[in-house]
Amino acid sequence: MTTAAPTTTAAGRKPPVNRRRVALHAGCLAALLVMLYPLAWLLATSLKPADEVIASLNLLPGTLEWSNYETALDGVNDVSVGRLLSNSLLIAGGAVLGNVLSCSLAAYAFARLRFRLRGPLFAFMIATIMLPHHAVLIPQYIIFNQLGMVNTYWPLVLPKFLATEAFFVFLIVQFMRGLPRELEEAARIDGCGPFRAFRSVVLPLTRPALITTAIFTFIWTWNDFFTQLIYLFSPEKFTLTLALRSFVDASSQSSFGPMFAMSVIALLPIVLFFLAFQRFLVEGMASSGVKG
């Protein structure tokens, strides 16, 4: 990092820098302790017996109830956890692919190309971010029903291929606007059309935004209980997130312990995905540094 200017100065100034660093780490660790406490609670609860899950005010379980995990791993509705997991992965993976592709295409047009109605269309695109999705839920359902797509994964994935998540279009537009125009100008002078310029010049530079898009899409799709609930009907198409709700029912006895265990299981893939991609995030950022 070239920004660490103090290290280039005389050795005499090093101690305060180290103290700063220690203080920084201490501060971060203290903040983390607070931040991660609820997560510890979640983990601990997944091992609590039924009578402690709700009423207990202690972090640690009185007795370890591993059977919560056994129940959770049995799956739901005769569908194995493996199946639920692969369903979730399929949807989240499709959504990531769709969003990265379609949103970067649209974003490039908005950020870099001239066309009629660009201003109004951009404003409209922003406006769709503001749309409360409950309002369009029923009309959308009717459309998907007409298309024969209810109880398939298409209603969950197809909208991502059509760049309906304006949030990401906007995100990528903002990033592309920050890129130096000279690179594309140079590419254009070299005879590149907009498609080549997009693919070979702009897209690589936009990698941090694309990876951000991928990470957010994955996590949000994974946790999006609502849409999955509406569109999926057959148990063998259920996702982990959806299966979680089968543990709690107001009209009969709930299984809170196994629900917490299932929550932990459902959390693992997102954690892994994030950890895996977070490495690329660093790489992507380092390699695409805007050097001009």
Binding site: L24, T45, L113, T128, F175, V248
Partner: protein, 316 residues
């Protein structure tokens, strides 16, 4: 279509590139733009415009999901504004929430991003750890955890002696807001990515000029980061106006206690899907849309004075 395109290219004769040789290229790029846009256009028409038009129509009807909608004119709107005290309580709760949650979350995300920015060791670890809460969403389990922590005799009560939060009006909203603030991972990552894009030369130049750390923050980081700050501000504000899941989860869908966390979309959901008044819910959605639109427009207007696009050449 061809005519208008030609006129569009003619509108910028001052640009040196607009010579006879370049003109087809401009037209070509107009065509290319529509290719790039085609998936978005399809989605916008089919999944946004069409449903929006339907919902606008429904907002002037009485529609219970089962029987065909019947036209009632402006009744949903007048009822909302003049006959529904719970509607106004939901407006008040939402505004309070926006004002509390958005600045807190953005400030926290920015502070953490700045702290991590120049860190040499453990950056990846910290970033992941600070992001961890955001991986959870607002699931039922995290809602139950939240209720346990912020209940009478819960961890927060024990530490601060405040009593329960989730079960007292006034405090419950704060507990819900903290759930959102706690999940600041998304804006943090966006801030980090933005900080990464600030050219190191600018800091070097500032250091050479003898600028202090604070000075460099004000004169390099803030202006260079302003598009990203703006992006986060707009997005988080819009999302805050639409806040649903945290309150739904923590209050078990009730928006309690005493309607104190009955946020706008929660009440909208309640009217539409619990009470089967889709017409009324659609009207509520359209009012919300207009309000968010107005707020966003104001934000965009103010942005002209403080958002700085580094490489913006010929835009606007």
């Amino acid at each position: 279509m061809t005519t208008t395109q030609t006129s569009a290219s003619l509108r910028r004769p001052e640009r040196p590139a607009a010579t006879g040789a370049r003109r087809p290229a401009g037209r070509r790029r107009e065509g290319a733009a529509w290719v790039f846009l085609s998936p978005w256009v399809l989605g916008a028409v089919l999944l946004t415009l069409l449903p929006m038009a339907v919902s606008l129509y429904l907002s002037f009807t009485d529609y219970d999901l089962f029987n065909p909608p019947s036209w009632v004119g402006l009744r949903n709107y007048t009822q909302m504004f003049t006959e529904d005290p719970r509607y106004w309580r939901s407006v008040a709760a939402t505004l309070t929430y926006v004002v509390i949650a958005v600045p807190l979350q953005l400030a926290l995300a920015l502070v953490v991003a700045l702290a991590l920015k120049n860190m040499k060791r453990g950056k990846g670890f910290y970033r992941s750890a600070f992001y961890a809460p955001s991986l959870l969403g607002a699931s039922m389990s995290i809602a139950l955890v939240w209720r346990a922590l912020f209940n009478d005799g819960g961890t927060v009560d024990n530490l601060l002696g405040t009593g329960g939060w989730v079960n007292r009006p006034g405090w419950a909203l704060l507990a819900v807001a903290l759930l959102t603030v706690w999940q600041f991972g998304a804006p943090m990552v966006i801030f980090l990515a933005g900080l990464q894009q600030i050219p190191a030369e600018l800091y070097e130049a500032a250091a050479v000029d003898g600028a202090s750390r604070w000075r460099r923050f004000l004169s390099v980081t803030v202006p260079m980061l302003s598009p990203v700050i703006f992006f986060n501000l707009v997005l988080q504000t819009i999302q805050a106006f639409q806040v649903f899941t945290p309150a739904f989860a923590v209050s078990a869908g009730k928006g309690g206690p005493a309607d104190s966390t009955l946020f706008y979309t929660l009440y909208l959901y309640d009217r539409g899907f619990v009470a089967s008044h889709m017409g009324y819910a659609s009207a509520m959605a359209w009012v919300l849309l207009l309000v968010i639109g107005a707020v966003t427009a104001v934000l965009f207007r103010t942005s002209r004075s403080w958002v700085f696009y580094a490489f913006e050449g010929d835009d606007r």
